[in-house]
Amino acid sequence: MSLTFDSARLPNPHITPEHEEWRAQLRKFIDTEIIPYAEDWDEAGHIPIELWPKAAAVGLLGMGYPEEFGGIKEGIDSWHTWIANEELARIGVGGIPASLMVHGIGLPPVINWGSEAMKQAVAPPVLAGEKHIALGITEPGGGSDVAQLATTALHDGDDFIVNGSKTFITGGLRANWVTTAVRTGGEGAAGVSMLLIPTDAEGFSRTALDKKQGWWASDTATLYFDNVRVPVTNLIGEENQGFKVIMTNFNSERMFMSAAMEALGRVCLEEAVNWARERKTFGKRLADHQVIRHKIVQMKQRLNATQAYIRVCYESMEAGNPNPGDIALLKVQASETMEFCAREAMQILGGIGYMRGNRVERIYREVRVNAIGGGSEEIMRDLAARQYGV
């Protein structure tokens, strides 16, 4: 047995033949429709718009969303989600899942807290891959301290007038709607609301942030709101209750980021092992040098720990009692594991690893966005300490 992406996965008793079938079919889809083009898309800085309807047809976009909006929910559990995130990570081009699946952070607030009319208008076209939605929380003035956000929405008759800006917004250039955090009340968390802002509204504009360390295939944008008029009915949830919406959203975002990061670490392991078994130095295979063997198993050791931890967190989500502190620390565990694996795999690959066009090189460049986005390592530790009542 060797250490491959698949063989380095720990057994999981929750996995049924239907889960395996989902993995097999999804992998076939990804191997045919995405992987042959992934590198070109990354270099070109975008993915073709036709990919969304294709991903919808295979069930990827609708996974976990209600059937009435074109999703598939019955019988779907966390293990389907984990598999999807693993398989998307296996591409080794982080910008693709980031952009393709960005509705995974933009749409749940609408589904969970939006009005019936809003859900009917937004969810079906998004889940069919025909329209796009993004999540706008971070501002030029700051991202970690969400409670201090400065974009305002002031009442004017039946409308809000929105002023301010959002930055680093994934899918921001393509979005038809942005699920936006705005200040409708006083200072702090208690004055925050979530508002669905259509990007064809007058006064809305955006610019691309297309020079990035990684995630090139993903469109990232700064959004500007200049007296944008939005109906009050576009509120997602109650006025000044937006913080709760944001916090609920974070758990699932952190879970899928963690699942992806572990899988990206596993890609690094697979690439490193393949190379170490082929490459000879000083008369023997790299894999026969003790230093290299230890690097390889240390990667596996950390991946094992992360996988087991992911499973525990998904189990608690399945049981309906997720622990936000544990999930926050899982995200740190996953980004540190990914970082370690990317580093060690790069060392094992040597010079060739530094050349563009291999998964390890790209994953190495995409460590930081995972360690910063969706809640940075520092903020995750801080949140956990508070959760644990330290």
């Binding site: 989902w22 889809f29 069930g59 598939i72 779907i76």
Partner: protein, 250 residues
Amino acid sequence: MKVLVAVKRVVDYNVKVRAKADGSDVDLNNVKMAINPFCEIAVEEAIRLREAGVATEVIAVSIGDKSCQEQIRTSLALGADRGIQVETEGAVEPLVVAKLLKGVIEKEQPQLVILGKQSIDGDNNQTGQMLGALTNMPQGTFASELVVDGDKITVTREVDGGLQTLSLNLPAIVTTDLRLNEPRYASLPNIMKAKKKQMDVYSPADLGVEPKAHLTTLKVEPPPERKAGIMVASVEELVDKLKNEAKVIS
């Protein structure tokens, strides 16, 4: 029109198979299994016929132990309407498979039976032909195109040196070649729906067949390892070696 498709559980085509240390067989321990690619093409063709309104029902049949129900489920997820498993133990030879399929045909009376031209494990390429002989049905093997026209089908076959076109009366047997179609992926909703589709299990006795072995595997060994290549210094040296050592040019 009822269409019967035969599907086989085989080692996934991505897997590098290894021989068991004792040379008795290939090692199937912890190996990823999948539907035989040619069978998958057969399923796809049947589903396309149903989508075109030509077929009214597609039945997927597999022969093997309980685990082959996974490949039937795959076929159901791809779009087959119901499944049949014929429960057998151990390896079954093409002749036994053909006899069991004949039994299923007698029960189900399909107008069209589609099989893969061969399965990528044994590479026997026999079952379809044997089934044709046993049932006395006309056969179009290695199909790269299949057109149904009333009670006839036209099968384009890939043969050495070109394409051959056959016209067959239904009911008929068709085996698929690689270029017949490109199978779809089963979507997540269809995977979930497949769980609820009907699957019947028959024993060989139900079909009046007693599985017998006519073949014995003597030894399974890996092909000899390729020797490492050498770098030649010049085109002249290469030509010399091709001429005098490999003797592939003169």
